[in-house]
Point group: C2
Chain length 138, copies 2
DNA sequence: AACGATATGTTATGTTATTACGCTTGCGGC
DNA sequence: GCCGCAAGCGTAATAACATAACATATCGTT
């Protein structure tokens, strides 16, 4: 049976290339960053990348960081899309930490229920400095 | 003494124009939307709008919605910048509801403290359908 | 008046994302 | 087999969002 880090097998060539690029990267990449890295593999147009990204994001294999206009591979291959995900983005090194918090999710649910708002998607992005960078700066 | 909805008097002409436009709008506006509305007032270049927006956002008089690449006037003239602000954006009518939640803020603080992350700025945006639009659709 | 800080106006350019169109591929039903 | 459909792909063009670089102006302070 399946184990931790396996990549779904039913990806198309472009989707695989894009996901591979994201996975190999230390930090978020813009669609155009990805495109540049994949020119050697035959990709030529932004749309090829955007289409692949759409699918990957749909499937929870990648995330879009709205405040960066960039993308990252999902950090946790187990729990795709299982709820609200928050991202902590370090302004110094660019690294992104992904985490889920049930309390926040629950709290949001309460707010929505109260106001009759139907939540479809939530983005939560924290900008700041990660512990490593703070240590280095000290 | 000052009361609820007064506009700060020390804004420059461009800042006033931009804030006025945002305040008059029912929903979020992109920088270019704003520019188009202000051509009659002599504005010609995107930068004039972006510069004004920068200041307004700095001062908490306007907010940037990252997931929309658009801007809104701050809904609450009293409590500018006093903490984490969440936005609920209706995909149907475009209206934006602005709210603060101390529990979420606190929870985020805890997470940050635990991991040694220094938070500088947080964006939280909920996409979905507002009560009004749900009622209409029913 | 001289200075610095802040704001302005303008042109050009850079970056991110989508529209439109046509071709190809895989697959189920007949 | 072959038709028809859905999904994917390739390409060109363009739209939408944002900033760089540079010159000028305005205002408060000394």
């Amino acid at each position: 049976m399946a184990h931790s880090h396996d990549i779904p097998t039913d990806l198309t060539r472009n989707q695989e290339l894009v996901l591979g690029t994201l996975t190999a990267s230390a930090g978020p990449l813009s669609a155009y960053d990805i495109l540049d890295k994949l020119r050697g593999d035959g990709l030529r147009a932004p749309l090829q990348v955007y289409r692949a990204l759409d699918k990957l994001v749909d499937r929870g294999l990648a995330h879009r960081l709205e405040s960066l206009n960039a993308f990252v591979a999902c950090a946790d291959m187990h729990c795709h899309r299982k709820g609200l995900i928050a991202f902590a983005i370090c302004e110094s090194c660019g690294k992104v930490d992904e985490f889920a918090d049930e309390v926040i999710e629950e709290r949001l649910g309460t707010w929505a229920r109260t106001g009759g708002f139907k939540v479809e998607r939530t983005t939560m992005e924290i900008r700041g400095r990660c512990a490593d960078c703070l240590a280095k700066a000290a």
